[in-house]
Point group: C2
Chain length 317, copies 2
C-alpha cells in the first residue's frame, strides 16, 4: 500500500465491523478500530475470525481505541453499530472524520441515514452499505463468519448530492476498497432501492427468528413457515414498488434459493432478543411500513409481524 | 325434577364439560359424566368448581364412568373434548345416545360437526354449542371458572334437517336446560353463523396467546398487540361476510369491550401448547381460511398467524 492509501476507521467492532475491518487490514489497509466493552480483550489478544470461507484468521496487534478522541482522522468510516443508536453516534463520527470523509452505515433497514444526517457536518459524505453476510460474535474480539460477505453501497447525502458523477466515483471507490480485500461489492445507483432489496430478506427472517425462536434452516424446511416467508418477501417487493423501486419478482425466488444454500443462520435480531437488547424494529419494519402506507400500499402480514414483535420487544426489556 | 326430565351425558369432563355438567347437576338434572384419566379422582372426591361468579361448589357423589358401555342412555350429550378427536369419538356417542338424542359439540372452530356427522347414526340430532366462558382445569376434577358462561346453540344436522320448526324446538329445548341451570343461552337460527361469531374472539386470542406467550390482559394493554387483535377480528368479520354470514361491525368493538372487562385469561390453546397437546388449528384457522378463500376472500393476517402456529405446533410435539 502507498502512503496515499485511505485510512479506514471501524466504528463499532462487533461481528460486522470486526469482519470487514479485519479483512481490510489483512489486505494492507491502514485500519483503526473503535471499541467499547471489548477494547481490553482486543488490545491484548487481537481480533479472531473463524470463517467457513477464509479459514481461521488472526489480526494482532490491532490498532484499537477505547475513545474516539485518540483516533487519527479517517477517510472512510465504516459504521457497524446498531441503527437504534445512530443519533448518539454523530459526535463520534464528526470527531474521527477527515475533511470530506465518507461515512458508510453497514446497517439494515430503511432510511437509517436520515436521523443521523442532520447531526453530521455537511462536509461529510454519507453512504448506505447493505451487507449480505452470515456473521456473529462468539466472544470478545471473536467473530464467526458462516457465509457470504457482499456489501452493496449507495450514496445517501453530502456535498455530492447534486453531482451524480461524483456520487458514482465515491461509491465505486468504496466498492474498490472491498474488492481489494477479496469481498464482493456493488456500487448501487440508489441507496433507497438497495435498502428495499435488503429488506426482502430481513423482514421475514429477522422477525420470524424471534417469533418462532429458531434459525433459517428450520424455517425454510417447514412448509408453513416457508410459505409465510415467501408471502412476506412478496409484500416487501410490493411495498418497494409502491415507493417507486422496482424489484423483479424473480428476486424473491433468488433470496429463497440463497437461504436454502446457507448453513443454518440466526439473524442479528434473534441475538438481540436473546440478549434483551432493543430490536431494530423502526428501521426494518416501522419505516418501510410507513413509506408504503404513505404511497397508498398496505402490507398486512408485515404489519402483523411488526405488531407482534413490538409487543415481544417491550416485554423483553 | 320429574321423571320425564331429560338425562344428560357429559362426554369429556375437562374444564368445559365439568363446568356445565356440575351446574346442570346442581340444578337437579340427572347428569352422567364420562371421564378417562381423571375417573378415579372424580369418583372418589367429586367435582370441584371454584367460580368467581358462583363461588365454591362441590358435586359429590358424581355419577362418573370410566367407560361408555357402563353409562345409561342419555337424551342430551354435551361434548367437551377437543375437536381434534371428533372422528374417534363417534362410536362412544352412538353407544351412549338414547334414540333421537341430541349431541351438542361444545367446541370452537368452523365445521367441527362435519367430520363427526358421517360417523354418527342418522337418527341423532347434532348441534353446535358456542361457549363464551373463561374456564380451565387446575387439577383432577377441579375447574376454575373465571368469567362469563353463555352457551349459544345452533342446529347442525339430523332428522330435523328439513323441518325448521322442529330445529327451533330442539335448540330452544337445549337453551332451556341451560337457563334452568342459571346459564345464559341463546337459540341461534344458523350454527355456521354462530361459529363465525365465536371465531371473532378465538382467532386472535387463541393464536396470539401461544405466539406471544401471554394472556388477554397483557395483549389488550399493549397498543401494538391490541391493534393486531382488532385487525384479526376485522378479517374474521370479512371472512364471515364472504361466506354469507353478516356480523355487524360493532361486534368487534363489543368483543374488545367484553375482553377488557374480563380478568386476565389464558385461552385453551395456550394450555394445549404448554402441555404439548395438538393445537386446534384445523377448526379455528384452516377451515375458516379455506371457506373464505373458496368464497374469493383472502385473510392475510389470519393466514400468517396460522402459518406461524403450524410451525410452532409441529415443533412442539
Amino acid at each position: 500500500m502507498t502512503a496515499q492509501s485511505p485510512r479506514i476507521g471501524i466504528i463499532g467492532t462487533g461481528a460486522i465491523g470486526g469482519f470487514y475491518g479485519l479483512m481490510l487490514a489483512r489486505a494492507g489497509f491502514d485500519v483503526h478500530f473503535l471499541l467499547r466493552s471489548e477494547y481490553a480483550a482486543v488490545a491484548e489478544h487481537g481480533l479472531h475470525l473463524n470463517s467457513t470461507v477464509h479459514g481461521k484468521l488472526h489480526l494482532h496487534p490491532v490498532q484499537a481505541y477505547a475513545q474516539a478522541a485518540d483516533m487519527p482522522a479517517c477517510d472512510w468510516l465504516l459504521v457497524g453499530t446498531k441503527s437504534t443508536g445512530n443519533v448518539e453516534l454523530a459526535p463520534t463520527l464528526a470527531q474521527v472524520a477527515a475533511p470530506g470523509a465518507k461515512v458508510v452505515l453497514l446497517q439494515n433497514g430503511l432510511d437509517v441515514e436520515d436521523s443521523l444526517r442532520e447531526h453530521l457536518p455537511s462536509s461529510l459524505h454519507l453512504l448506505g452499505g447493505l451487507c449480505y453476510i452470515g456473521v456473529h460474535r462468539s466472544g470478545p474480539g471473536v467473530v464467526e463468519h458462516q457465509a457470504l460477505g457482499r456489501v452493496n453501497l449507495g450514496y445517501h447525502s453530502g456535498t455530492a448530492a447534486n453531482d451524480e458523477a461524483q456520487q458514482k466515483a465515491i461509491v465505486e471507490e468504496g466498492a474498490a476498497l472491498f474488492h481489494q480485500a477479496g469481498i464482493e461489492s456493488q456500487a448501487m445507483a440508489n441507496v433507497h432501492q438497495a435498502r428495499w432489496h435488503k429488506l426482502v430478506w430481513n423482514v421475514p427472517f429477522n422477525g420470524l427468528s424471534v417469533l418462532l425462536g429458531t434459525g433459517t434452516s428450520a424455517m425454510m424446511a417447514d412448509e408453513s413457515s416457508r410459505e409465510l416467508i415467501q408471502a412476506l418477501m412478496t409484500e416487501v417487493v410490493k411495498g418497494a414498488h409502491a415507493c417507486g423501486h422496482e424489484i423483479p419478482g424473480s428476486y424473491v425466488e433468488q433470496m429463497l434459493t440463497m437461504t436454502d444454500t446457507m448453513a443454518d443462520y440466526l439473524p442479528s435480531m434473534y441475538h438481540d432478543h436473546v440478549h434483551k437488547r432493543p430490536l431494530e424494529l423502526a428501521a426494518i419494519y416501522a419505516r418501510p411500513l410507513a413509506a408504503a402506507k404513505a404511497a397508498g400500499c398496505e402490507l398486512p402480514r408485515m404489519q402483523a409481524l411488526y405488531q407482534a414483535l413490538s409487543f415481544i420487544d417491550r416485554r423483553n426489556r
